[in-house]
């Protein structure tokens, strides 16, 4: 992601906002008024977008007319708290938007708000999860560079998922989120609301279960979700385990190469090959480090998101199975369901492919390192032979 230092003009224009969310009131002043040019043209943004998403996403018949990136995390310190602000850049040709480019700054809370509004407005649709509020299992320090980067990518994916959704992307909260310089005036309800609502509904659901006959599709969906959730959790755990083992392997590798160097210090003719082996092992260590990084930053976050997806969906399906408007919910969810499944397949497929490619690359690089060593060793004996022939 490019890190442009385009100053966002926050100080200037405060919005006059109507409490009625259905009314879309935006003044022209919300667009970038400072006249600085965006280094990226929409076409180069397409390329950027393609790095993180699969081509298939764009073949649903609609050509993409909105591009969103989340980047440039910056630390903000106030008297009360420290938090990170992310820059959200939007480029669009949609007519509902007054301008074709927007730059706003949002914090994690803002994303939570957006998602809860979407859940509220579309209880029957599948909405992509956000990265978690807190870090699990102490794998990464809060506000470490890795953590921020992982979160940034997840937030980026989240907004893009919304923008790809045929219904959600036209939601006015979404538009506000993307365009309003100040979000605070728009936020009325806290994020915790929906989770409390969800608990209540689920309690009712459990008490009423068995009385209503569920449509078979729902049962199947529930079964699938149960299994899917299970499996994706397992894959996630296995991946975490792989990362852990790789890290321990790397630690030992780092101890290993110095032993060759130490020995080399004793030797005469053997010193050079010993040192060469040491440097080969070192280079392979570096490649291992990169491999681990790739796993942590590409595969693991996607798996994690789908673990969250699975959990959220399971809950949703339970709720929906109860609704009086079963038929309507059924149809809306069904359509969204295939959209989600497709999206899931695409995301996971691309993450696995990327992992496999990275592993091939890893082995190819290590192979080159050792072949170079062999080359350097095999040359010498032939040289000796030539010299003897001459003498």
């Amino acid at each position: 992601m490019s890190e442009h230092t385009v100053p966002a003009d926050l100080s200037g224009h405060m919005l006059d906002l109507d409490e009625d969310e259905d009314l879309e009131v935006f003044s022209k002043s919300t667009s970038l008024a400072d006249g600085s040019s965006m280094p990226n043209s929409p076409s180069s943004m397409v390329n950027q977008y393609r790095l993180e998403e699969d081509d298939e996403e764009q073949q649903n018949g609609n050509t993409k007319d909105i591009f969103i990136t989340v980047d440039n995390p910056e630390s903000h310190v106030t008297a009360i708290e420290t938090f990170i602000m992310y820059r959200v850049l939007t480029k669009t040709t949609r007519s509902e938007f007054d301008s074709c480019e927007y730059e706003v700054h949002r914090r994690y809370q803002d994303f939570l708000w957006l998602r809860s509004k979407l859940e509220e407005n579309y209880p029957t649709l599948i909405i992509h999860p956000l990265p978690e509020k807190f870090v699990m299992k102490g794998m990464v320090e809060r506000f470490s560079n890795d953590f921020i980067e992982t979160r940034r990518k997840a937030l980026h994916r989240f907004l893009n998922k919304i923008s790809e959704h045929p219904i959600l992307s036209y939601n006015q909260h979404f538009k506000v989120f993307l365009t309003a310089q100040e979000l605070a005036p728009h936020r009325k309800q806290s994020a915790g609301f929906l989770s409390r609502m969800g608990e209540t509904v689920r309690a009712v659901a459990n008490s009423v279960r068995g009385l209503s006959s569920r449509p078979e599709e729902f049962t199947l969906m529930q079964e699938y979700l149960e299994n899917f959730s299970n499996k994706i959790c397992s894959v996630n755990k296995v991946t975490q385990r792989v990362i852990k083992e790789q890290r321990e392997y790397l630690d030992e590798l780092k101890q290993y190469s110095p032993t060759y160097v130490q020995w080399a210090g004793l030797e005469g003719e053997l010193a050079e090959p010993l040192k060469d082996v040491a440097s080969c092992v070192e280079r392979c260590s570096k490649e291992t480090e990169e491999q681990i990084q790739h796993l942590s930053q590409v595969l693991l976050p996607i798996l994690h998101e789908y673990v969250l997806c699975g959990e959220t969906l399971k809950m949703q399906v339970e709720v929906d199975g109860l609704a009086d408007r079963v038929e309507m919910a059924n149809n809306a969810l069904k359509g969204d369901w295939s959209h989600w499944q497709n999206s899931m397949r695409t995301d996971l497929k691309s993450a696995f492919i990327s992992t496999a490619e990275k592993n091939v690359e890893y082995y190819e690089k290590c192979l080159a390192v050792w072949e170079l060593f062999l080359l350097s060793q095999r040359v010498e004996p032939r040289k000796e032979l030539d010299e003897e022939d001459v003498s």
């Binding site: 994706i232 397992s234 321990e248 696995f352 496999a356 091939v360 062999l374």
Partner: protein
């Protein structure tokens, strides 16, 4: 019998090791330079075929078998015996293929042979045996002496030992060695009859004693220092390698879980099912591949271990020098003091303190007859002492001369062998990388079908 074929290929070379064909070429090119490098008269292995035992006879440790029997304290025990096969070289060269002579030996007999060689040739860096117990293990399984992989590696190590000894310019001529290879019964008795055991005991005692040598040969002291450091660094390397192997094992095996989960997952998916399932198979293959990879790497570890153990043999040669030098210095010292005593007796001038001198002063001098007797005795002792010094000087010089030659030979062998080992290591790494590329490329193809 492919092992004997390998032996045949290397029969003209000083260093015999089991290796893949690719190394033949490499070993061959160094041949001439080795002869040139060292004083030709002392490095005569390459000069003619049949010069060393190995030149005349093909040797191979073909098999290993488990036996049980009663041991020294009449307890039932299980042990492994190794089959040593020999064939005369000329028969093989002629194209005849006679059945080899063979006999069975156990590890303890190899140890006995080696102890005999160490004591009998203290100026030779005697090749080591493969380890008695598995050390630097990366996985619990291979710590078991009865483990078939361990037994197999030991068989290779024992063969290597025999090949090294039988191709050594000095050791290969030993009769006891020849009997070891050709006479199964009664060999132990023959060894003990040489009386080497007594020498071994005193040698062991001397080895562990601490004594101060005034003028050791500097080169030997440096060599001793080198052998200590070699032991230390080789151990560290082997320990680190074992840990790395252990971790690598963990990484590969964990991927096996992908295989299981993908398989289960594929059952609930329609479009993704096939891709997932087949990718899972490749993950299983990946996880399984590490066993062979690491087993092969054990051979590399064994090559390093041989030189770890060689370091001890080298050290022993240096210690022997210290011992002979020390004995020479003691003998010289003793001679000097006796000569001084004689001088004092003869001239009456006391240069050094002695109780006799004190008592003389206190109680008066002794009678002339007594003095004469004592002088005569001293003269005899001095003559003996001079003989002793002469002997010790010769012993010391001979040891230095012969040991230095062998240490040079050892150094060249070591440099060559270890370089080969490092190349081997690289070859193994390359093979592992190629397997990895294949597995993950295959997995990628499967993922593409998802």
């Amino acid at each position: 019998m492919t092992l004997c074929a390998c032996v045949l290929a290397h029969q003209t070379h000083q260093e015999e090791k089991m290796s893949e064909d690719g190394r033949e070429e490499l070993v061959g090119t160094d041949d001439d330079s080795e002869n040139m490098a060292v004083d030709g008269s002392l490095n005569n292995t390459m000069v003619e075929e049949g010069c060393t035992l190995l030149g005349r006879m093909e040797i191979c440790v073909a098999e290993a078998e488990k036996r049980s029997g009663k041991n020294a304290v009449n307890m039932q025990e299980t042990f492994t015996v190794y089959l040593i096969e020999t064939r005369p070289m000329d028969a093989v060269a002629d194209g005849r293929n006679p059945a080899p002579d063979s006999l069975w030996r156990r590890y303890s007999e190899f140890e006995l042979l080696r102890n005999y060689l160490i004591v009998t040739y203290p100026y030779i860096v005697v090749p080591p045996l493969p380890e008695k117990r598995a050390e630097f293990v990366w996985h619990k399984l291979s710590a078991d002496n009865m483990d078939p992989d361990f037994v197999e590696r030991r068989r290779v190590g024992l063969e290597n030992f025999l090949l090294r000894v039988a191709s050594h310019p000095v050791l290969s001529n030993d009769k006891i060695l020849y009997h070891f290879l050709t006479e199964e019964q009664g060999w132990k008795e023959v060894v003990y009859e040489t009386g080497f055991q007594a020498k071994a005991d005193s040698w062991l005692r001397a080895l562990s004693a601490t004594f101060r040598v005034r003028n050791p040969d500097k080169r030997f002291m440096e060599m001793k220092q080198y052998s200590d450091e070699l032991q230390s660094h080789a151990s560290q390397l082997l320990r680190a390698r074992a840990k790395v192997a252990d971790r690598l094992y963990g990484v590969y095996k964990v991927h096996g879980n992908y295989g299981r989960v993908f398989s289960e997952w594929s059952a609930i998916e329609r479009e993704m099912g096939d891709g997932l399932q087949s990718a899972g198979h490749h993950m299983d293959a990946y996880a399984a591949s590490i066993d062979d990879i690491l087993e092969e790497e054990e051979h590399y570890a064994d090559q390093l271990k041989e030189y770890l153990f060689y370091a001890e043999a080298l050290r022993a040669v240096c210690r022997k020098h210290e011992l002979t030098q020390f004995e020479l210095e003691m003998a010289s010292q003793d001679l000097i003091s006796k000569k001084q005593q004689r001088e004092e007796l003869a001239t009456g001038i006391v240069r050094t303190f002695s109780f006799k001198g004190m008592t003389n002063k206190l109680f008066g001098q002794e009678a002339p007859e007594q003095r004469e007797a004592r002088l005569k005795l001293l003269e005899e002792l001095i003559v003996e002492g001079e003989e002793a010094v002469k002997e010790k000087t010769v012993e010391c010089e001979e040891h230095v001369e012969r040991a230095w030659v062998d240490m040079q030979r050892f150094k060249e062998q070591k440099d060559k062998d270890l370089r080969e080992a490092l190349i081997n290591f690289a070859v193994m790494q390359i093979s592992m990388c190629k397997k990895g590329i294949q597995v993950w490329s295959n997995a990628k193809e499967c993922f593409l079908k998802m």
